[in-house]
Symmetry: C2
Subunit: 165 residues, 2 copies
């Protein structure tokens, strides 16, 4: 995945899907997925250049991996971002963090989300992470059950402090 | 702070403390702080080289900032790590993440921790973050009240999945 060429394949509901590194031309589809969400709909109103500029920064970083989930015909139907965080704690461990998970509403409830996040966990393991972490808004009860079924433990409070622009 | 030269000063209980980027020679003191903790004590048993190697990776990254809190005489009495995460969501926003906060037990309860985390929030603001986030183990009730007094909202579940080595 580091070079943007490798593709992983997951099969859900008899259909094949690919997971690959996001490309610049995917950005509009990715933003549409982020916006098609009860919490995201009100906050994805920035001009296209803001998203392209953010994409360039993420794409250039060795510590970030933004991926697309696509159908066999290449339609982007999911996304998530991994951040690999080295720290001193836990013996100088690497941890993987999952952010901004979205699966298109027409592709939910057939196990695809589970396979997609499972792919992300395996990618973290492959890179040597000792832990995978994420936070999920408490208003997303379904998401919480989803992560618990994947083996995640809701052991921490997830604290956020918005900063005024 | 980017070049490891700038120092911020905070005053607590009539005493002056400095916040500066961590240096390689600080690593043993930082690991001692991480280990002097109910949750950290059992998990900081790696050989010194593991911590030095992790320090080099953190120090080399533009997306990481590991800092020391020191007394006027230079003793290291606190640490935290900031990670700056660019993403597509929220208009291509940058978010700041705080991890591995520790203040030496003899220096707690005089407002120093509050000033130290307040410094971290201001550093995130200075770099253009729209949000600061952290997770805190639910067993740390005092820490939760501490972050809430600083304005953080415990709005998310913090999910963790340990990976087998």
């Amino acid at each position: 995945m580091e070079h943007g060429t490798a593709v992983s394949v997951v099969t859900a509901g008899g259909e094949k899907f690919a997971v690959r590194k996001a490309r610049r031309e995917d950005v509009p589809a990715l933003v549409a997925l982020l916006a098609d969400d009860p919490l995201g709909s009100g906050r994805e109103t920035a001009p296209p250049e803001a998203y392209l500029s953010a994409f360039e920064a993420v794409d250039a970083s060795d510590e970030q991996l933004l991926v697309c989930l696509t159908t066999a015909s290449g339609e982007v139907v999911g996304t998530l971002q991994l951040t690999f965080i080295r720290g001193l704690s836990r013996g100088g461990a690497l941890r993987g963090q999952i952010e901004a998970v979205r699966v298109h509403r027409e592709y939910r409830s057939n196990g695809l989300g589970r396979l997609f996040v499972g792919w992300a966990v395996e990618e973290c393991r492959r890179r040597g992470c000792v832990l995978v972490q994420l936070t999920s808004d408490r208003s997303r009860g379904d998401a919480h059950r989803f992560y618990e079924r994947l083996g995640f433990v809701d052991s921490h409070g997830g604290f956020k402090l918005p900063l005024d622009p």
